[in-house]
């Protein structure tokens, strides 16, 4: 019968029959403890010397000019490109109303970069910064070009009163130095016939992205957040949405990102 590996290892380990030399172990321990104490003393001494040197150099440090990387100046940021974003500062200068932002993790990616639409994505949830050129008639049962209406002056009020949405009260917000209003909404009554843009899911189509023709919709089961910002020479609509159960978590990430936004014109 083939031997067990355990038996082979037992043979390899042999049979030591001495006892531990406690005296020798104790002597070695003393040397180890002594070495540790010396090392600790050296570290403390090094810290004291470093602190003393830093203290002497303090006026120089305080007086120095701030470097470009110290703040979120768009000039020091990288131009936003499609793909995964490494932690850092980015400027979306291809957008009609250029803005910069900063990410501290690599979890965001840029999916759309157009003059009227910047799409950022984090774990399959989108945050859009858009310029709309029209909205769909809330009373219409379809989302055809004929149902398109000019952008209302009070876009937040229009969203609040939309008959197919259940919306929260508008809340004043400030993003990137620009004041605006935020509203959260979910679909209560989807369109009878889901348009192709919704991928067959029951939804409501709200508006159209200027120049792109892309329709903006909210699907049943999602919560969508809309922020309308009036900037000089136009209106920006920031919107992000996620399934109800994931919205709060995504909203936290989105708000953290939005808190770093800076609009150039602001």
């Amino acid at each position: 019968m083939a031997p067990n590996l355990r038996e082979l290892l037992e043979a390899g380990a042999g049979d030591p029959h001495d006892l531990p030399d406690i005296e020798a172990i104790w002597n070695r321990t003393r040397r180890i403890v002594w070495r540790r104490r010396v090392a600790a003393t050296l570290v403390v001494a090094a810290v004291v010397v470093a602190a003393a040197l830093s203290f002497r150099a303090l006026p120089t440090l305080v007086d120095r000019e701030p470097r470009p990387a110290d703040d979120l100046n768009p000039r020091s940021a990288d131009t936003l490109r499609q793909g995964q974003l490494e932690p850092g500062a980015y400027v979306a200068d291809a957008f009609e109303h250029p803005f910069s932002f900063r990410t501290s993790t690599d979890s965001w990616s840029a999916s759309v970069l157009e003059p009227t639409w910047v799409g950022l994505i984090r774990r399959a949830n989108y945050l859009h910064v858009q310029v709309w050129d029209g909205v769909f008639d809330p009373k219409s049962r379809t989302a055809r070009p004929a149902d398109l209406e000019p952008l209302p002056t009070d876009l937040i009020g229009w969203l609040e009163d939309h008959p197919r949405l259940d919306a929260t009260d508008p809340v004043p917000v400030q993003i990137g130095g620009v004041s605006g209003f935020r509203i959260d909404a979910r679909v209560t009554e989807p369109l009878p016939t889901s348009p192709p843009e919704c991928g067959g899911l029951p939804c409501v189509v709200l508006g159209r992205v200027a120049g792109e023709g892309e329709l903006v919709d909210v699907e049943v089961g999602q919560i969508a957040c809309f922020v309308v910002l009036d900037v000089p020479g136009g209106r920006i609509l920031i919107n992000y949405r996620a399934p109800v159960e994931r919205f709060e978590r995504f909203s936290t990430s989105a708000e953290r990102l939005l808190a770093t936004f800076e609009f150039e014109a602001s």
Binding site: R6, G14, R31
Partner: protein, 171 residues
């Protein structure tokens, strides 16, 4: 630090021989293993207040010992000491009941990489679980399984495939 407390002395008596045997397999030399075991116990004693509160102080001791064995500087020092001891000592403390197998097994283990060797010894000689081995080797359970498989392949090449492997939990 005064005299060695009885608790640590008991720990030394309980873990000394198993540790030497593990290190003999790992290093291939019983005398070097003996020196490394003493050093590992000394380091354990230097941190005894912390180690005695651990769930498995032996696991910590094994980790220190393997780390010492992996340190080239420490190993050379241990080899020097072992040579001196062999020159001065009259009797031998280490007996190989089956010298031919012992030499063959140690030679076969020496052909493995240090991590493969550690994985196979800890799993099949020290009877540690995959998780305990992973914790000791500071890696994931999957890595331990991979290392163990390669180590067994290596041992089969060296010793021939005629040995059985029995473990309490799956590899």
């Amino acid at each position: 630090m005064g005299s060695v407390p009885l608790e640590f002395e008991g720990f030394c008596h309980e873990s000394y021989v198993p540790l030497i045997r593990t290190l003999t397999l790992y290093c291939g030399d019983p005398e070097v293993a003996r020196d490394l075991a003493q050093e590992a116990l000394a380091r354990t004693y230097a941190s005894w207040r912390r180690v005695r509160q651990m769930a498995y102080p032996r696991l910590w001791l094994n980790r220190v010992a393997i780390n010492l064995a992996n340190s080239r500087f420490r190993r050379l020092k241990a080899e020097r000491r072992a040579l001196e001891v062999e020159r001065t000592r009259s009797g031998r403390f280490h007996v190989d009941p089956d010298p031919a197998t012992a030499v063959a097994v140690r030679r076969a283990l020496a052909t493995l990489s240090p991590r493969q060797r550690a994985a196979v010894i800890l799993r099949f000689f020290d009877d540690l679980s995959v998780e305990q081995t992973a914790e000791l080797m500071n890696c994931g359970p999957g890595t331990v399984k991979k290392l163990t498989k390669r180590a067994l392949d290596g041992l089969r090449d060296q010793l021939g495939s005629g040995f059985r492997v029995e473990v309490s939990d799956g590899t």
